[in-house]
């Protein structure tokens, strides 16, 4: 029995119906991967998403950490060599706020990026060789099932898909 089956559909709706039938036939959703060169997200998900994204929370946490880093940078370095400021504060809140603001934005950006890459499982160059076809560049939706067996293959073919070498 082949380990992986890759079937390409010209229409996203056909692919959506095929995935539905696969899941109804008892194929494990974790074994099904749907790929396309365009998002096709407007009509909902192909496979129900079980894990919520935490990118927003990570970005928020990054922002807070960035702001703290900015404050620490200004506070500790200013106190490491306290210059004469003529009675003015060594760490003025308004000017320190600007550094904190920029560092907060930087932290939020980095954390959002890192979390996005983590959740999207990138970079993962090997996956392209194992489970993908360059035909997708011309459109369509690729459904790949791992250990789906004869049933999965049959369902995908009946649904109007065209098998492609991965």
């Amino acid at each position: 029995m082949r380990e992986r089956i890759c079937v390409i559909f010209d229409e996203p709706e056909e692919a959506r119906r095929a995935v539905q039938r696969l899941l109804e036939a008892g194929v494990n959703p974790a074994d099904v991967t749907v790929m396309s060169s365009e998002p096709h997200l407007e009509a909902g998900e192909f496979i129900p998403e079980t894990r919520r994204t935490l990118i927003g929370y990570f970005s928020l946490a990054g922002g807070v950490l960035g702001a703290i880093a900015g404050l620490s940078l200004v506070y500790f370095t200013s106190h490491a060599y306290p210059i004469v400021t003529g009675g003015m504060p060594l760490v003025p809140p308004l000017t320190t706020g600007i550094v904190m603001y920029e560092m907060a934005a930087l932290g939020a950006i980095f954390f959002a990026l890192a979390r996005m890459l983590w959740e999207a499982r990138l970079p993962r160059w090997r996956a392209v060789r194992e489970d993908y076809t360059a035909e997708l560049a011309d459109g369509g939706v690729l459904i790949s099932i791992k250990s789906g067996g004869e049933v999965g293959q049959e369902i995908l073919r009946e649904a109007g898909g065209r098998e492609v070498p991965s």
Binding site: S37, E38, L41, I55, T95, E102, M116
Partner: protein
């Protein structure tokens, strides 16, 4: 129907979109080599001029007392302003869900990154002893000396670096699916290059969802950062007590000017790209129309801020301020001043306001004039104030040198060079976003056609 609003997108198939938008990446025309050769030669000349300045000292640039900030800082402010074209406009359009943004976003984001890179070079060139620029970076050192965080110049460092980093990521993230597309279409070494750059993107459902989420979050973060950058650049001036600099509206005035010049630069770039890369079906008249209306709004806003700024100075009649005021309005800088007003307001407003005149060639002309006008505006903010400081014994007229002019010309050529290289290596129109937009458009059309049937 207004010709500007026509939509010649119906005959665009998936294959044709791929072919048209990836053509500049996968094939190289003679025009690319010509652009690279000419801009490269000017950049080489500018590098020679910079080398000359490094060897002979900063005096050869024409900077001397009292004009310690001259063309280099003019260019710095100008390019940072131009950088507001991209990420800010792209982010605003993305956040507000403006569907027409799709062919425009990437070319504007690229402008941001290159303009910021060029803008950030100028403080280093301006230093004279450029090899000491790292003193600006906060890093542990044996003398326990740290940069002064109370200085606006230090805020510039943080703001520009944050904006550049954010803009690079904001440019790169939506580029990943298109890099994968090029990977799938390319052969030989290009395939290897784009395989690495696309990070193994396959376009799974999870990847698309996470990408869209991350891009939305970035868009929200980048808007306040962009606003902060030019506000902080304005504070380089406004935090001093120099005549016509110490103004509370300098922050918003600079931001408005930055967005104004940024949109003008974006229109110029779009105009050139659609011609040179044959992108007439993608960058359409309607995009110019929408941006022209935005440009018109910014032109009016710019005039309002300029008027408010000059009126308050004139009304207060403070001698030191008036000396600078008159030097701009009636003195040696008045030709620049009136050219600026003509370029930024008098000529563009009728072109942009009247539908009959709002055609691509005229919009492009108005944008070019605005870029010139905004460069002059930066010059007029900086040089006249420094040429007439509060103590009159120090007054002096400003004159430039070939070194300063060469480096200035070189940065414009550098921008063209970077942009040409970018279009050679990356699709300048976001392919997947464009296709997604077409699908949305088709769905909306189908929905609107279905309504009367349902009513029947």
């Amino acid at each position: 129907m207004n010709k500007l609003m026509e939509q010649p997108t119906n005959n665009l198939t998936n294959e044709r979109i791929n072919r048209d938008l990836l053509a500049p990446v996968l094939t190289t025309s003679w025009r690319f080599y010509v652009v690279v050769a000419i801009s490269g030669a000017i950049v080489a000349w500018a590098l020679f001029a910079w080398g000359w300045q490094l060897y002979h000292g900063i005096g050869v640039s024409g900077k001397r007392r009292p004009e310690f900030w001259s063309l280099y800082i003019t260019n710095f402010v100008f390019w940072i302003g131009i950088s507001h074209a991209g990420t800010l406009i792209s982010a605003i359009l993305r956040v507000t869900g403006a569907e027409w943004r799709r062919p425009v976003t990437r070319c504007s984001e690229a402008i941001t990154v290159f303009a910021l890179m060029i803008g950030a070079m100028f403080p280093i060139i301006h230093l004279g002893r450029a090899w000491l620029f790292y003193w600006l970076i906060p890093y542990p050192n044996e003398r326990l000396l740290w940069p002064n965080y109370r200085s606006p110049l230090m805020w510039d460092f943080f703001a520009i670096n944050t904006y550049l980093t954010g803009s690079l990521i904001y440019l790169y993230l939506p580029l990943i699916p298109d890099l994968a597309l090029v990977r799938d279409k390319a052969r030989g070494w290009r395939r290897g290059l784009y395989s690495v750059l696309s990070l193994g993107w396959r376009g799974t459902q999870t990847q698309w969802q996470r990408l869209e989420k991350a891009v939305s979050i970035m868009a929200v973060i980048i808007i306040p950062v962009a606003v902060s950058v030019h506000t902080i650049v304005s504070w380089d001036f406004a935090m001093t007590l120099n005549p016509m600099w110490n103004s509370t509206i300098f922050g918003p005035y600079f931001v408005v000017g930055a967005i104004f010049s940024g949109i003008a630069a974006l229109i110029l770039a779009m105009s050139v790209l659609r011609r040179v890369l044959d992108l007439e079906d993608y960058i359409q008249p309607k995009h110019f129309n929408y941006l022209a209306l935005l440009l018109l709004t910014m032109s009016l806003l710019w005039f309002y801020f300029t008027f408010a700024e000059y009126l308050t100075v004139w009304y207060a009649n403070e001698p030191a301020e008036m000396a600078v005021f008159w030097s701009k309005v009636w003195g040696p800088y008045s030709p620049f001043f009136y050219t600026m007003v003509c370029c930024c307001f008098v000529i563009p407003v009728p072109i942009l306001a009247f539908k009959k005149l709002r055609r691509i060639p005229l919009i492009t002309l108005a944008s070019a004039l605005i870029c010139v006008g905004m460069w002059l505006e930066r010059f007029l903010i900086i040089v006249p104030t420094l040429a007439a400081p509060r103590l009159p014994f120090n007054w002096r007229g400003y004159s430039t040198t070939w070194v300063e002019l060469s480096i200035t010309a070189g940065t414009f050529a550098y921008f063209v060079l970077l942009y040409a290289l970018f279009t050679k290596f990356f699709p300048i129109v976001a392919v997947w976003e464009f296709k997604e937009g077409l699908r949305h458009e088709a769905k909306a059309r189908a929905r609107s056609e279905a309504v009367p049937v349902a009513a029947d």
